[in-house]
Symmetry: C2
Amino acid sequence: MENEETKTVPKSWAMVGGDGPRSYAQNSSYQRGVLNVVNELMNEGIKETLDFKSPCFDSSNVCTFRIADFGCSAGPNTFLVMEKIIEAVEQKYHAQFQNSPPLEFQVFFNDVTTNDFNTLFKTLPLYQKYFAAGVPGTFYGRLFPKSTLRLAYSSYSLHWLSRVPEEVVDTKSPAWNKGIIQCSGTAKEVAKAYSAQFKTDMDNFLNARAQEIIGGGLMVIITLGLPDGILMSQTGAGIFNDFFGYCLIEMAKLGVISEEKVDTFNLPLYYSSAKELEEIIKNHGHFCIERLNMMNHPMMKRKIDVQSHISQFRSIFQGLLEAHFGRDDVDKIFEYLAEKLAENYDSVFNAAKHQHVEHFVLLKRNIN
Amino acid sequence: MENEETKTVPKSWAMVGGDGPRSYAQNSSYQRGVLNVVNELMNEGIKETLDFKSPCFDSSNVCTFRIADFGCSAGPNTFLVMEKIIEAVEQKYHAQFQNSPPLEFQVFFNDVTTNDFNTLFKTLPLYQKYFAAGVPGTFYGRLFPKSTLRLAYSSYSLHWLSRVPEEVVDTKSPAWNKGIIQCSGTAKEVAKAYSAQFKTDMDNFLNARAQEIIGGGLMVIITLGLPDGILMSQTGAGIFNDFFGYCLIEMAKLGVISEEKVDTFNLPLYYSSAKELEEIIKNHGHFCIERLNMMNHPMMKRKIDVQSHISQFRSIFQGLLEAHFGRDDVDKIFEYLAEKLAENYDSVFNAAKHQHVEHFVLLKRNIN
């Protein structure tokens, strides 16, 4: 079930697979760090908003509870989260139906087609409490039959755009992001293009999920964002990205990589404000916002060494960089970045006055 | 959702993954050869036995039609079959409900956890008519929530036992299969042990599917078998396996591979008779046999060159042989086998008076 959207999503944006030292599986402790906070918010949210006695829930077979993780990567964080969600759902179910037969859970792990599902499947917990399935494909299109999911989850995924806005890498456009590789927030035309792409992507995501999630069903979104009024280039992550862009330009000047490739490279990432997120969801109209919390990541201010930072960054962006610059240049890029980071440690890691945030959003599918 | 059964299934029995020259994907033309015959039988069977107006079908959401392929391997045969099944189901649906909204199909591709799902997902047809999902795990245990499948399919998979019966590789047992690596049918104790394992496995398979398939739902099984009264060792496939066993023994005598490893090696395969299959299904009691046909494979008598035969054999058994003999010895084994096959071409490929058959079984889940 592919549509126009899904065809435009490059196949290279999966995290690094396997479980080797460069894999996402071994480099996702930052993402795991926030899980305790998230689990508490989810637990509370499920307890207060999930209602097994809602008329929609009764109309189909209540015994199978289907959950999907949109953007699960190759594990292992997704397994920990799914377990916690199931615990919370079971508690709510038993509170509402004391003597009913136990629920059966089916958990769908979704990510792009090039995601390493083989590693995901091989590392599934041996005694999981659910029936597991993998679903390949972009979540900006439909992935499930109508009204079959009761709970959707997506973390650290929706800040990935389906593509870089064309204008920002078009050297003839007024929105050309010259010398910068991200939506730093300073150039208005660039910010407008990124924001429009984010809105289109979010609308596609919400449209697809609105069809797939049963009325009364829940959706948890955790995504990277910015505090209101703060620009990306003022945050630690933004300063790092700008520094990475500066390194690419230097490498092009040295003739190590192609200047044209640097000019046409931008990160397909967008950190939204809570206000922007709220507006998109409210305008869409099929989901009710039950919670919208801003979280400061507990690991945000930890002291980090250059090599760990490079490893984490590489596990996320290697596929994307390889697709743009070619495999051979990627090693050179990371070597150069490591060298320059070591020389400029303080100005990159200790200069930021602000930090990005994590948005925690809990939505309920309207019954209609 | 693992159980005792699933723990005993070695992880090495997946077909060779990827799409290289040694992959199952490139060496499954034999299996594909029978599909035209199968498609016709399935088409007829679905038309005559699938009933959307049965009370069970109405009780849950009729709009989603879930199909599972148990033992799909890494493709591409499974895609062709799923497409044909969907066509037949759609025709029947439209014949019964002229003006109803179209069905939505969800297809689950199941195989063991070590199957190459990455290749399967990457080679999914770009515009398939269904929502696709991969389900890792042995089909001798539960893989789906209760009453959620409407059609199950399994081809060239159920002749794979969950394990080699212990007795036949126990040098102290009266059922020790000395000097032979298969259930050739000549030694009674060996045949009894293999037959008992097949019955246990089939019972486990039917038990799991009986829970997963909705009342009135269908199951198509295509499996390798024997004509009544014919022994495995009298068939072309049996003669080849015996020859392979002879080669292993010769290699052990030459000191190339370990004698102890040859003594404890047997193929976890069982070719059942139609009578045996029928008895197991009838005794099980949850499925009604709608069709039980014996097919002679159109490619059975084709002239085949040694290298093609080795490639096909290797794409199926490499994982199993590596797990038993170790990776280094497997290359040697296939080199030796190729050499000996070339020397003994006539006695191996032209000696058989009989051939194995394919059983086509169409079952309907009882409504109870």
